[in-house]
Symmetry: C2
Subunit: 190 residues, 2 copies
DNA sequence: AGATCAACGTTTAGACCTAAACATACATCG
DNA sequence: CGATGTATGTTTAGGTCTAAACGTTGATCT
Protein backbone atom coordinates (compact mmCIF):
# COMPACT_ATOMS: atom_id res chain seq x y z
CA UNK A 1 0.00 0.00 0.00
CA UNK A 2 1.60 3.18 -1.18
CA UNK A 3 -0.36 5.78 0.70
CA UNK A 4 -3.42 5.79 2.88
CA UNK A 5 -6.63 7.50 1.99
CA UNK A 6 -6.52 11.28 1.57
CA UNK A 7 -7.56 13.37 4.57
CA UNK A 8 -11.23 13.26 5.45
CA UNK A 9 -13.34 15.87 3.71
CA UNK A 10 -14.80 18.67 5.83
CA UNK A 11 -18.19 17.03 5.42
CA UNK A 12 -16.86 13.75 6.74
CA UNK A 13 -15.25 15.45 9.69
CA UNK A 14 -18.46 17.23 10.60
CA UNK A 15 -20.48 14.04 10.19
CA UNK A 16 -18.05 12.12 12.38
CA UNK A 17 -18.42 14.67 15.18
CA UNK A 18 -22.19 14.60 14.96
CA UNK A 19 -22.16 10.85 15.08
CA UNK A 20 -19.75 10.70 17.99
CA UNK A 21 -21.07 13.66 19.91
CA UNK A 22 -24.61 14.56 18.91
CA UNK A 23 -25.16 18.25 19.48
CA UNK A 24 -21.61 19.30 18.72
CA UNK A 25 -21.69 22.59 16.81
CA UNK A 26 -20.18 21.63 13.47
CA UNK A 27 -21.44 24.42 11.27
CA UNK A 28 -18.09 26.18 11.11
CA UNK A 29 -16.18 23.15 9.85
CA UNK A 30 -17.02 23.46 6.13
CA UNK A 31 -15.58 26.97 6.20
CA UNK A 32 -12.68 26.75 8.61
CA UNK A 33 -11.17 23.45 7.54
CA UNK A 34 -10.82 24.32 3.85
CA UNK A 35 -9.26 27.63 4.79
CA UNK A 36 -6.54 25.84 6.74
CA UNK A 37 -6.00 23.32 4.00
CA UNK A 38 -5.88 25.84 1.21
CA UNK A 39 -3.42 27.93 3.17
CA UNK A 40 -1.18 24.91 3.48
CA UNK A 41 -1.56 23.94 -0.17
CA UNK A 42 -0.70 27.45 -1.31
CA UNK A 43 2.13 27.65 1.17
CA UNK A 44 3.72 24.36 0.17
CA UNK A 45 3.38 25.04 -3.52
CA UNK A 46 4.81 28.50 -3.13
CA UNK A 47 7.74 27.05 -1.29
CA UNK A 48 8.50 24.77 -4.22
CA UNK A 49 8.56 27.73 -6.55
CA UNK A 50 10.63 29.80 -4.18
CA UNK A 51 13.21 27.14 -3.56
CA UNK A 52 13.93 27.10 -7.26
CA UNK A 53 14.26 30.87 -7.27
CA UNK A 54 16.68 30.76 -4.34
CA UNK A 55 14.55 32.62 -1.84
CA UNK A 56 12.35 31.62 1.08
CA UNK A 57 8.93 32.68 2.27
CA UNK A 58 10.19 35.04 4.95
CA UNK A 59 12.53 36.85 2.60
CA UNK A 60 9.91 36.98 -0.14
CA UNK A 61 7.56 38.66 2.30
CA UNK A 62 10.15 41.20 3.30
CA UNK A 63 11.41 42.05 -0.16
CA UNK A 64 7.92 42.13 -1.67
CA UNK A 65 6.72 44.59 0.88
CA UNK A 66 9.65 46.88 0.23
CA UNK A 67 9.36 46.54 -3.53
CA UNK A 68 5.64 47.17 -3.52
CA UNK A 69 5.99 50.30 -1.44
CA UNK A 70 7.62 51.95 -4.46
CA UNK A 71 10.76 53.99 -4.81
CA UNK A 72 12.94 54.48 -2.78
CA UNK A 73 12.01 50.96 -1.58
CA UNK A 74 12.45 51.90 2.05
CA UNK A 75 10.34 51.32 5.15
CA UNK A 76 10.91 51.42 8.87
CA UNK A 77 10.91 48.24 10.89
CA UNK A 78 7.63 49.30 12.38
CA UNK A 79 5.99 49.83 9.02
CA UNK A 80 7.18 46.42 7.93
CA UNK A 81 5.66 44.95 11.04
CA UNK A 82 2.32 46.56 10.34
CA UNK A 83 2.15 45.05 6.87
CA UNK A 84 3.23 41.58 7.85
CA UNK A 85 1.60 38.99 10.03
CA UNK A 86 4.58 38.23 12.26
CA UNK A 87 5.95 39.64 15.49
CA UNK A 88 8.52 42.38 15.83
CA UNK A 89 11.12 39.83 16.84
CA UNK A 90 10.57 37.91 13.65
CA UNK A 91 10.96 41.08 11.59
CA UNK A 92 14.24 41.73 13.29
CA UNK A 93 15.48 38.28 12.45
CA UNK A 94 14.24 38.41 8.90
CA UNK A 95 15.95 41.70 8.29
CA UNK A 96 19.15 40.38 9.86
CA UNK A 97 19.15 37.37 7.57
CA UNK A 98 18.38 39.40 4.47
CA UNK A 99 21.06 41.90 5.41
CA UNK A 100 23.60 39.13 5.83
CA UNK A 101 22.74 38.01 2.30
CA UNK A 102 23.12 41.51 0.96
CA UNK A 103 19.48 41.90 -0.03
CA UNK A 104 18.61 44.85 2.19
CA UNK A 105 20.51 47.53 4.06
CA UNK A 106 19.76 49.25 7.35
CA UNK A 107 20.29 52.83 8.38
CA UNK A 108 18.99 55.06 11.15
CA UNK A 109 16.07 57.25 10.11
CA UNK A 110 17.52 60.62 9.11
CA UNK A 111 14.27 62.34 10.15
CA UNK A 112 15.19 62.47 13.81
CA UNK A 113 13.29 59.34 14.82
CA UNK A 114 14.56 56.35 16.71
CA UNK A 115 13.41 54.29 13.76
CA UNK A 116 15.58 52.25 11.45
CA UNK A 117 15.10 52.39 7.71
CA UNK A 118 15.29 49.16 5.78
CA UNK A 119 16.03 49.49 2.08
CA UNK A 120 16.24 47.16 -0.84
CA UNK A 121 19.75 46.77 -2.28
CA UNK A 122 20.29 46.26 -5.98
CA UNK A 123 20.68 42.55 -5.39
CA UNK A 124 17.50 42.45 -3.37
CA UNK A 125 15.67 44.36 -6.06
CA UNK A 126 16.85 41.97 -8.74
CA UNK A 127 15.89 38.94 -6.68
CA UNK A 128 12.38 40.10 -5.91
CA UNK A 129 11.83 41.16 -9.49
CA UNK A 130 12.67 37.66 -10.60
CA UNK A 131 10.58 35.96 -7.90
CA UNK A 132 7.36 37.92 -7.91
CA UNK A 133 6.52 37.16 -11.47
CA UNK A 134 6.99 33.46 -10.91
CA UNK A 135 5.08 33.28 -7.66
CA UNK A 136 2.09 35.25 -8.90
CA UNK A 137 2.08 33.48 -12.22
CA UNK A 138 2.02 30.14 -10.52
CA UNK A 139 -0.74 31.19 -8.14
CA UNK A 140 -2.74 32.44 -11.05
CA UNK A 141 -2.54 28.97 -12.54
CA UNK A 142 -3.56 27.32 -9.29
CA UNK A 143 -6.57 29.55 -8.92
CA UNK A 144 -7.69 29.30 -12.51
CA UNK A 145 -9.46 26.06 -11.74
CA UNK A 146 -12.31 28.39 -10.83
CA UNK A 147 -14.21 30.47 -13.36
CA UNK A 148 -13.58 34.18 -13.14
CA UNK A 149 -17.07 34.77 -11.81
CA UNK A 150 -16.53 32.17 -9.13
CA UNK A 151 -13.24 33.73 -8.13
CA UNK A 152 -14.93 37.09 -7.82
CA UNK A 153 -17.69 35.67 -5.68
CA UNK A 154 -15.18 33.83 -3.54
CA UNK A 155 -13.01 36.90 -3.11
CA UNK A 156 -16.01 38.93 -2.01
CA UNK A 157 -17.09 36.37 0.54
CA UNK A 158 -13.56 35.98 1.85
CA UNK A 159 -13.20 39.72 2.21
CA UNK A 160 -16.41 39.95 4.15
CA UNK A 161 -15.53 37.03 6.37
CA UNK A 162 -12.09 38.42 7.06
CA UNK A 163 -13.61 41.66 8.25
CA UNK A 164 -16.11 39.89 10.46
CA UNK A 165 -13.57 37.55 11.98
CA UNK A 166 -11.12 40.34 12.61
CA UNK A 167 -13.79 42.19 14.54
CA UNK A 168 -14.99 39.22 16.50
CA UNK A 169 -11.54 37.83 17.24
CA UNK A 170 -10.57 41.18 18.72
CA UNK A 171 -13.21 40.96 21.43
CA UNK A 172 -12.23 39.20 24.65
CA UNK A 173 -12.97 35.53 24.92
CA UNK A 174 -16.35 34.72 26.42
CA UNK A 175 -16.24 32.83 29.72
CA UNK A 176 -15.42 29.17 29.40
CA UNK A 177 -18.36 26.99 28.46
CA UNK A 178 -20.24 25.81 31.54
CA UNK A 179 -19.41 22.22 32.29
CA UNK A 180 -22.31 20.00 33.26
CA UNK A 181 -21.71 18.07 36.45
CA UNK A 182 -23.30 14.92 35.08
CA UNK A 183 -21.19 14.95 32.00
CA UNK A 184 -18.84 12.05 32.44
CA UNK A 185 -16.40 12.76 29.69
CA UNK A 186 -14.01 10.18 31.02
CA UNK A 187 -16.38 7.33 30.41
CA UNK A 188 -15.06 4.90 27.91
CA UNK A 189 -16.59 1.82 26.49
CA UNK A 190 -14.43 -1.13 27.35
CA UNK B 1 1.18 56.15 18.29
CA UNK B 2 -0.20 52.90 19.55
CA UNK B 3 -0.27 50.86 16.39
CA UNK B 4 0.38 51.52 12.77
CA UNK B 5 -2.18 51.12 10.06
CA UNK B 6 -3.65 47.68 9.58
CA UNK B 7 -2.15 45.53 6.83
CA UNK B 8 -2.95 46.59 3.29
CA UNK B 9 -6.11 45.07 1.84
CA UNK B 10 -5.75 42.51 -0.93
CA UNK B 11 -7.06 45.15 -3.33
CA UNK B 12 -4.38 47.59 -2.26
CA UNK B 13 -1.68 44.98 -2.63
CA UNK B 14 -2.81 44.11 -6.13
CA UNK B 15 -3.08 47.78 -7.08
CA UNK B 16 0.41 48.44 -5.75
CA UNK B 17 1.88 45.68 -7.88
CA UNK B 18 0.10 46.91 -10.98
CA UNK B 19 1.34 50.42 -10.32
CA UNK B 20 4.91 49.28 -9.69
CA UNK B 21 5.08 46.55 -12.28
CA UNK B 22 2.46 46.96 -14.99
CA UNK B 23 1.61 43.58 -16.40
CA UNK B 24 2.17 41.65 -13.17
CA UNK B 25 -0.50 38.94 -12.91
CA UNK B 26 -2.42 39.98 -9.81
CA UNK B 27 -5.67 38.15 -10.30
CA UNK B 28 -4.90 35.53 -7.68
CA UNK B 29 -4.25 38.01 -4.89
CA UNK B 30 -7.88 38.63 -3.83
CA UNK B 31 -8.25 34.91 -3.27
CA UNK B 32 -4.89 33.81 -1.93
CA UNK B 33 -4.18 36.65 0.47
CA UNK B 34 -7.44 36.38 2.41
CA UNK B 35 -6.96 32.64 2.70
CA UNK B 36 -3.60 33.16 4.38
CA UNK B 37 -4.95 35.85 6.62
CA UNK B 38 -8.03 33.94 7.65
CA UNK B 39 -5.94 30.91 8.42
CA UNK B 40 -3.81 33.02 10.71
CA UNK B 41 -6.79 34.69 12.36
CA UNK B 42 -8.44 31.34 13.03
CA UNK B 43 -5.17 29.87 14.18
CA UNK B 44 -4.37 32.66 16.63
CA UNK B 45 -7.86 32.78 18.02
CA UNK B 46 -7.95 29.04 18.42
CA UNK B 47 -4.70 29.19 20.29
CA UNK B 48 -6.18 31.62 22.79
CA UNK B 49 -9.03 29.24 23.44
CA UNK B 50 -6.75 26.25 23.68
CA UNK B 51 -4.33 27.87 26.06
CA UNK B 52 -7.17 28.35 28.48
CA UNK B 53 -8.16 24.71 28.07
CA UNK B 54 -4.61 23.57 28.73
CA UNK B 55 -3.90 22.04 25.35
CA UNK B 56 -2.05 23.09 22.23
CA UNK B 57 -2.81 22.90 18.55
CA UNK B 58 -0.71 19.83 17.88
CA UNK B 59 -2.26 17.86 20.71
CA UNK B 60 -5.76 19.00 19.78
CA UNK B 61 -5.17 17.70 16.29
CA UNK B 62 -4.00 14.35 17.56
CA UNK B 63 -6.67 13.80 20.18
CA UNK B 64 -9.48 15.06 17.93
CA UNK B 65 -8.55 12.65 15.21
CA UNK B 66 -8.54 9.73 17.61
CA UNK B 67 -11.77 10.80 19.26
CA UNK B 68 -13.53 11.36 15.97
CA UNK B 69 -12.56 7.95 14.69
CA UNK B 70 -14.95 6.45 17.25
CA UNK B 71 -14.52 3.65 19.72
CA UNK B 72 -12.01 2.18 20.48
CA UNK B 73 -10.31 5.53 19.76
CA UNK B 74 -7.31 3.87 18.23
CA UNK B 75 -5.41 4.48 15.01
CA UNK B 76 -2.00 3.55 13.65
CA UNK B 77 0.66 6.19 13.23
CA UNK B 78 0.19 5.89 9.52
CA UNK B 79 -3.52 6.51 9.67
CA UNK B 80 -2.91 9.53 11.84
CA UNK B 81 -0.46 10.80 9.29
CA UNK B 82 -2.96 10.44 6.48
CA UNK B 83 -5.53 12.53 8.31
CA UNK B 84 -3.17 15.27 9.36
CA UNK B 85 -1.24 17.80 7.35
CA UNK B 86 2.16 17.19 8.93
CA UNK B 87 5.07 14.86 8.27
CA UNK B 88 5.60 11.44 9.81
CA UNK B 89 8.36 12.84 12.00
CA UNK B 90 5.99 15.41 13.43
CA UNK B 91 3.44 12.71 14.20
CA UNK B 92 6.08 10.78 16.05
CA UNK B 93 6.96 13.80 18.13
CA UNK B 94 3.36 14.71 18.80
CA UNK B 95 2.59 11.23 19.98
CA UNK B 96 5.69 11.21 22.17
CA UNK B 97 4.65 14.45 23.83
CA UNK B 98 1.07 13.35 24.33
CA UNK B 99 2.26 10.05 25.70
CA UNK B 100 4.54 11.81 28.16
CA UNK B 101 1.50 13.74 29.36
CA UNK B 102 -0.53 10.58 29.71
CA UNK B 103 -3.06 11.50 27.02
CA UNK B 104 -2.42 8.59 24.67
CA UNK B 105 -0.83 5.17 24.88
CA UNK B 106 1.12 3.18 22.34
CA UNK B 107 1.15 -0.52 21.63
CA UNK B 108 2.25 -2.72 18.73
CA UNK B 109 -0.55 -3.70 16.41
CA UNK B 110 -1.76 -7.14 17.53
CA UNK B 111 -2.85 -7.96 13.98
CA UNK B 112 0.59 -9.04 12.92
CA UNK B 113 1.55 -5.71 11.33
CA UNK B 114 4.63 -3.66 11.95
CA UNK B 115 2.32 -0.80 12.85
CA UNK B 116 1.92 0.87 16.22
CA UNK B 117 -1.51 1.58 17.62
CA UNK B 118 -2.08 4.90 19.31
CA UNK B 119 -5.03 5.03 21.69
CA UNK B 120 -6.72 7.70 23.73
CA UNK B 121 -6.31 7.26 27.49
CA UNK B 122 -9.08 8.26 29.87
CA UNK B 123 -7.28 11.50 30.59
CA UNK B 124 -6.91 12.18 26.88
CA UNK B 125 -10.54 11.41 26.29
CA UNK B 126 -11.61 13.79 29.04
CA UNK B 127 -9.36 16.55 27.75
CA UNK B 128 -10.56 16.38 24.18
CA UNK B 129 -14.16 16.19 25.26
CA UNK B 130 -13.71 19.41 27.15
CA UNK B 131 -11.79 21.16 24.37
CA UNK B 132 -13.76 20.30 21.27
CA UNK B 133 -16.94 21.89 22.42
CA UNK B 134 -15.16 25.13 23.22
CA UNK B 135 -13.14 25.28 20.03
CA UNK B 136 -16.06 24.56 17.73
CA UNK B 137 -18.38 26.83 19.67
CA UNK B 138 -15.95 29.66 19.38
CA UNK B 139 -15.41 29.07 15.68
CA UNK B 140 -19.13 29.04 15.17
CA UNK B 141 -19.25 32.48 16.69
CA UNK B 142 -16.43 33.77 14.52
CA UNK B 143 -18.07 32.52 11.37
CA UNK B 144 -21.54 33.72 12.21
CA UNK B 145 -20.65 37.15 10.90
CA UNK B 146 -21.80 35.64 7.61
CA UNK B 147 -25.40 34.70 6.87
CA UNK B 148 -26.06 31.02 6.64
CA UNK B 149 -26.59 31.25 2.90
CA UNK B 150 -23.30 33.06 2.51
CA UNK B 151 -21.52 30.42 4.55
CA UNK B 152 -22.96 27.73 2.35
CA UNK B 153 -21.91 29.51 -0.81
CA UNK B 154 -18.47 30.10 0.62
CA UNK B 155 -18.08 26.49 1.70
CA UNK B 156 -19.04 25.28 -1.77
CA UNK B 157 -16.54 27.56 -3.47
CA UNK B 158 -13.80 26.64 -1.03
CA UNK B 159 -14.46 22.95 -1.56
CA UNK B 160 -14.26 23.35 -5.31
CA UNK B 161 -11.10 25.44 -5.12
CA UNK B 162 -9.45 22.97 -2.77
CA UNK B 163 -10.08 20.18 -5.22
CA UNK B 164 -8.72 22.19 -8.12
CA UNK B 165 -5.65 23.35 -6.28
CA UNK B 166 -4.88 19.88 -5.01
CA UNK B 167 -4.94 18.63 -8.58
CA UNK B 168 -2.89 21.42 -10.01
CA UNK B 169 -0.38 21.55 -7.20
CA UNK B 170 0.31 17.85 -7.70
CA UNK B 171 1.57 18.38 -11.23
CA UNK B 172 5.23 19.14 -11.68
CA UNK B 173 6.26 22.76 -11.75
CA UNK B 174 6.39 24.27 -15.23
CA UNK B 175 9.85 25.28 -16.38
CA UNK B 176 11.20 28.40 -14.74
CA UNK B 177 10.39 31.66 -16.39
CA UNK B 178 13.03 32.44 -18.99
CA UNK B 179 15.85 34.30 -17.31
CA UNK B 180 17.79 36.89 -19.19
CA UNK B 181 21.40 35.93 -19.61
CA UNK B 182 22.71 39.12 -18.07
CA UNK B 183 20.81 38.46 -14.90
CA UNK B 184 23.22 36.64 -12.63
CA UNK B 185 21.17 35.34 -9.72
CA UNK B 186 24.03 33.88 -7.69
CA UNK B 187 26.10 36.99 -7.96
CA UNK B 188 26.35 39.19 -4.92
CA UNK B 189 27.57 42.76 -4.82
CA UNK B 190 30.75 42.93 -2.80
C1' DA C 1 18.85 69.76 33.64
C1' DG C 2 17.33 65.42 35.70
C1' DA C 3 13.92 61.98 36.29
C1' DT C 4 10.45 59.30 34.41
C1' DC C 5 7.93 57.44 30.62
C1' DA C 6 6.87 55.57 26.22
C1' DA C 7 8.10 53.76 21.77
C1' DC C 8 11.06 50.91 19.24
C1' DG C 9 14.08 47.41 18.14
C1' DT C 10 16.99 43.31 19.46
C1' DT C 11 18.15 39.23 21.89
C1' DT C 12 17.24 34.92 24.08
C1' DA C 13 14.93 30.72 25.40
C1' DG C 14 11.88 27.44 24.09
C1' DA C 15 8.51 25.21 21.02
C1' DC C 16 7.40 22.80 16.83
C1' DC C 17 8.19 21.64 12.28
C1' DT C 18 10.58 19.63 8.04
C1' DA C 19 13.92 16.87 5.65
C1' DA C 20 16.80 13.34 5.76
C1' DA C 21 19.35 9.75 7.87
C1' DC C 22 18.41 5.69 10.51
C1' DA C 23 16.44 1.61 12.34
C1' DT C 24 13.08 -2.38 12.06
C1' DA C 25 10.11 -5.71 10.65
C1' DC C 26 7.83 -8.22 7.01
C1' DA C 27 7.63 -10.05 2.35
C1' DT C 28 9.35 -12.00 -1.77
C1' DC C 29 12.27 -14.53 -4.63
C1' DG C 30 16.15 -17.32 -6.02
C1' DC D 1 17.10 -20.31 4.02
C1' DG D 2 19.52 -15.91 2.99
C1' DA D 3 19.47 -11.60 0.22
C1' DT D 4 16.82 -7.67 -1.35
C1' DG D 5 13.25 -4.75 -1.20
C1' DT D 6 9.51 -2.13 0.86
C1' DA D 7 6.68 -0.13 4.32
C1' DT D 8 6.79 1.97 8.91
C1' DG D 9 8.41 4.56 12.63
C1' DT D 10 11.97 7.24 15.06
C1' DT D 11 15.80 10.24 15.60
C1' DT D 12 18.61 14.12 14.55
C1' DA D 13 20.12 18.52 12.65
C1' DG D 14 18.68 22.76 11.39
C1' DG D 15 15.45 26.48 10.72
C1' DT D 16 11.78 29.92 11.85
C1' DC D 17 8.61 31.54 14.84
C1' DT D 18 6.61 33.47 19.34
C1' DA D 19 6.83 35.44 23.89
C1' DA D 20 9.19 37.85 26.95
C1' DA D 21 13.19 40.06 28.82
C1' DC D 22 16.23 43.67 27.76
C1' DG D 23 18.49 47.90 26.07
C1' DT D 24 18.17 52.43 23.83
C1' DT D 25 16.64 56.66 22.41
C1' DG D 26 13.52 60.52 22.43
C1' DA D 27 9.81 63.02 24.79
C1' DT D 28 7.58 65.09 28.80
C1' DC D 29 7.21 67.14 33.18
C1' DT D 30 8.95 69.75 37.18
Amino acid sequence: MEDTQPPESPGEIAAAWRRERPGTPTESIPVVTPVFRLAKLFEDDRQRVLRRAGIDRATLDLLSTLRRSGSPYTLTTRELGGRTLVTAGAISQRVARAEREGLVSRAPDPRGGRGILISLTDAGHALIERSVEEVLGREMYLVEGLEESERDALAALLAKLTGQVRERAATPLPPAAPRRADERPGERPG
